[in-house]
Structures are given as C-alpha cells and as structure tokens.
Symmetry: C2
Subunit: 323 residues, 2 copies
C-alpha cells in the first residue's frame, strides 16, 4: 500500500517566513528537507533562520538524527521535489500562481506524494483545479505562525481531496508532535484565523472608540481570558464554568447575557485614521522596548508555556496509563 | 488626606463563587476580611473554599501576615462593614437589589470607604443612584473568575464616580498583585467579557455548523492563537507580527484579509437544539474525564502559566533595572 509509505523527505516550496519555519521544524524532527525559492539570497536567509531557531528547537527536544545539515537548497523546483514524500507549499496567495504551480507539481510527482499547502486565504477546491491528474493528493495543511514553535496544523480538504490524503497528512503532522485539527468544511480563514479575527475585531473597536488603551486591552486579554485559552479551549472551559452541571448549566446561565453582549459588539472600519490610532496606542504600550526585545520576551514565554502544556499532557497520560 | 488611608480591612458582601474567591485572595495578601452572606451554611462553605484554595495561593506566594484566621464571618451586614476600608460587593445582578444595598451601605459607611462592585452586567452609573450621599466612592472592580488565580481587575467608574476613587481602587488592587485595566467608558460586559463573547460567538458558530468538533475547535484555540494570548495581548502581537515595520506594516498587510473574514463570521442563535449540539460535542471531547479531573488539570496549568509570566516580568524588570 502506497498509503503507508513513511514520510521522511520533504520539499519546501517558498522559504519566506512560513516556509523557513516549517524547514526548521522538519529538520528538528529528524527529516530530510530540500528547499526551493527563487528569491535572491533565499538560501543564506533560510540557513540563518534555521540556525537562529535551533536553540529553541533543541530546548523543545530534537528527534534522533535531527541536524541542520539535512537541509539541501536548490533554485530548481524539479530538482527540489525529486524523490520527496511530501511537498509543503508556501507560495504567494494568488490563485493563478498556485494553480500553475500545482499543475507543474502534479506532472513532476508520483501520485502517492502529498502536496500540502500552507495557504490561509485560498480554498483547496480552487487550488487543486490546477492539478488535474491527481487532485486527490492535494490538501491544506495550514500552520499557525511560527510553526516551529506553535504546534497547530489545520487540515482541510478540497472537493477532490481523498480521505486517505487527509488522514495521511493528519498522521504525518501528528507523528512529528504537531496538533492537527480536521476542518470539515472549507471556510475563509479556516478556524484559527477566524477565531483570531473575531477577537481582534472587538479589540480594535474598543481601542478605536477610546474605551481602553492598547496597553489596557492587552492586559485585559493576556491576564484575563487569554491565560485560560493558553491552557484550554473555550468549549471545555465552558464545561468547567458550569460547575457540577457542566456545559448544559453554563449555557442555561449565560446564553442570555452573551446574546445581549453580542448585540453590542463593534464592527470597526480600519480607515487610515483608525489604523493610526491603533498604531499610536501600541507604540505608547511598547515604550522604549524594541521589537527584538519584545519578540525575545514573547518567544521565551511561549516556549515555557509549550513545555508546561506538554509536561502536563505527559503527566495526564501517565496517570491514565497507571490506572 | 483620607485619600491615602491604607486599605487593610475588607468587607466581602456575598460569598458565592466570586465573593469566596476574593476572600481567599485578600487573606493570602495578608488583609483582614469580614464576610457576610444570608445563605444558610454560607460560612462553612466559605471557609471550605478558602481552605481548598490555600495551597495554590501558597504556591503563588503568601504575603507577610497572611492567614486563614484573619477571616471573620457575620450574617449581619452592619457588623460586616463596621471599620472596614473597602467593600467588595458581589450581590445578585439585579439593579433594584443593588441600589437598595448601596443605599444601606452609603448610610453605614464613612465617605472615604470605597464600595467596589464585582458586577459584570450592570452599569455603575445606575448602581450608584442608590447611594445618594456619596456616589463618588462607588466603582466597578470586576474580576475575572476565579480572582484568586486570574489577576485581572477591570476598573470602571460611573457618571458620579470620582477620579480619586478610581485611582485609589486601581492602586489598591495593583498593590496586592492584581493587573488592573481602566475602562474609560461604560460598556456592557466591560472589556474582557466582550472579548470572550466575541471569540465564543465564532466558536459556537463553527461547532453548530459542523465545521469542527468541540475537541478540534479547542485544539485550534489552545494550541494556536490561545498560546500567544496566554503570554501577550493581541495589539502587541500585531506589532510583532509586522516584523521590522511593526504594527503599521501589519495593519497594511492584513486589514484586507481581516475585513474579508469579518464579513463571513457567524452569528449563531443558541436555540435548545444548538445548545444540545454544543453540549454533546463537549461531552465527546471530555470522554471519561470527570469535571473534577479537568478542573485540576486546568488549574495546575493556569498556576504554572501565571508563575511563568510573573517570573518573566521579574526578569524583564531586572534587566531594565540593571541597565
């Protein structure tokens, strides 16, 4: 069965922010990576990214055989995809570009090679129209930036994606420690970006309307509900929010107030004036801290939180196993 | 100046879930607490809650003098508020009830005693109409449940709240380690509950529409954007999401896609059928794990995350101080 062919060698198409981060992740998981990009200096930028990301990946745990030297780079796409088991495509978000690329890949690759797209904005049903021979092996595998730290991968099939492809993709990303989600209907923004945009719409509204500063809305989020979402999803939190009565009790109790709040949520228009207001407020929040300093702070805390979560899960499965 | 009177003795009115959690927090911060509630068995339930919460509070760090024995209980409200410096009111969310209660408190208390309401659903401008003598000392200080773990406090004044009251309240909660936010306009749900309801609206929609299961939407949130919101607010994350160009670049790049996603966000109606669907999906997610087990898991991770965040902040201020 071609279905069970192990995935050991990955082609990365496009080595921008997302492609570079995927590259670092796959290398850390002990896989062989061949990357391709037509941008000048793409190779050196990519190798530098991987080197910079390596200490964090080391801290999260390298797999046996993991090495930066397992990275090959070529500007020639045919060479990049030769002999690979999976393609992670991170091209520009233009449907004409992607369809042309998928046509090329469809011709170059044996039918059992999965073509996984990192696209956040396009539908696989549209993209795979470009791959008429074997559209069934094309699937969205959308990461959350940066994929080498944030483990989420959203798996979304198009109209012609086979169940076997979606399942193999799910198994592959899970096998390297990512957390996969099966999105059962094609939706703009899949799931995570929709959740994020729903929240940020209200954040922008409250800052634009002078209800709170950027600093205060960030405190309200990250020291309030964000703390809980950092450890558990909203549905399960609702279940626990209902006490002994669980989610049924929670919904009985809060459906009324929530529906009332929904009616008053904002719908801001991000005009240049509003954008300036948002930016000014963020700059006041950042104060003298540089972007590099803030990034280092964010990534250090993210790493700590991911370690904490994985440790907790390991503890929980240990408990279950011991029973 | 009465303004600078230290706040050492707190009256807790209403010892349900929120009042009990406030009690535990104040005791852990070394304050004297007098609690009152008319429910039968309120005192024993409260003392049990505090005892159960104590190990977590100990782990987060008890203040000098902190002791469960600093808790007094009385069913008589006049006795409860006698000699206190601040009242934390957690009564039922009914405006007639609150106005009557504030009238009583207004008569019982000297004018320099702050009356802080935990109300999430009422406006202080309405509540303080019940306290005609000194409405200026009434303010919303809304916690995020459970306040003994989650440090957020939203400070919202009503039309008649004095600036001094809002500032003293802010200083007080900050002095015991809480993170305060100044909400500059009265809004239904203040800030944090609005953000939460904006996000959950889309969560419910995606589960109700069979786009994802509860388990998968929880994975998408808590292993995706939730991880980031657990360590930093959305505005600052946007700033860092723009690379060297900061938030200006981020907004330029993402305003288009975001506005497009906003148009497609859902607006579910939580009918009994939808509620059943949501509940069923959560029960499938919980599997054989009991609410008590899941709560223990959540609280353990929450404590770990809070420690991590506080440690990181201490490190950051250390760095700043060393410069």
């Amino acid at each position: 069965m071609t279905d069970t062919k192990p995935i050991r060698r990955i082609a990365i198409i496009g080595t921008g922010v997302i492609g570079a981060s995927w590259t670092a992740l796959f290398l850390a998981k002990g896989l062989q990576v061949v990357a391709t990009d037509i941008a000048p200096n793409a190779e050196s930028a990519l190798r530098k990214f991987v080197e910079t990301a390596w200490p964090a990946l080391k801290r999260l745990g390298l797999s046996p055989g993991a090495s930066q030297s397992n990275l090959k780079f070529t500007a020639a796409i045919a060479q990049a995809v030769s002999g690979v088991d999976l393609v992670q495509e991170n091209g520009p978000e233009r449907i004409d570009f992607k369809q042309k690329l998928y046509g090329q890949l469809d011709e170059l690759l044996p039918p059992d090679v999965i073509i996984a797209s990192s696209s956040s904005g396009l539908k696989m049903s549209d993209i795979q129209l470009g791959a008429p021979s074997h559209p069934e092996r094309c699937v969205i595998a959308h990461p959350f930036n940066p994929p080498h730290l944030i483990p989420l991968v959203e798996i979304v099939g198009g109209a012609k994606t086979s169940k076997a492809t979606a399942r193999r993709a799910e198994e592959f990303y899970t096998s390297i420690g990512q957390r996969t989600v099966r999105v059962k209907k094609e939706m703009p923004g899949h799931v995570a970006n929709r959740l994020q945009s729903a929240l940020m719409r209200e954040v922008y509204y409250l800052v634009a309307e002078d209800v709170v500063s950027a600093a205060d809305v960030d405190t309200a989020l990250s020291w309030g509900p964000g703390l809980r979402w950092g450890v558990m999803g909203g549905m399960m939190l609702n279940h626990l929010g209902g006490g002994a009565g669980g989610i049924e009790h929670f919904l009985q109790q809060f459906t009324g107030p929530m529906a009332a709040w929904w009616k008053t949520l904002g719908n801001p228009v991000l005009t240049p004036e509003v954008q300036k207001k948002l930016s000014d407020s963020v700059h006041a929040e950042a104060g003298s801290r540089t972007i590099a300093e803030l990034e280092a702070e964010r990534d250090e805390m993210l790493l700590g939180l991911i370690e904490l979560r994985k440790h907790s899960e390991a503890g929980a499965s240990h408990t279950v196993a011991a029973q």
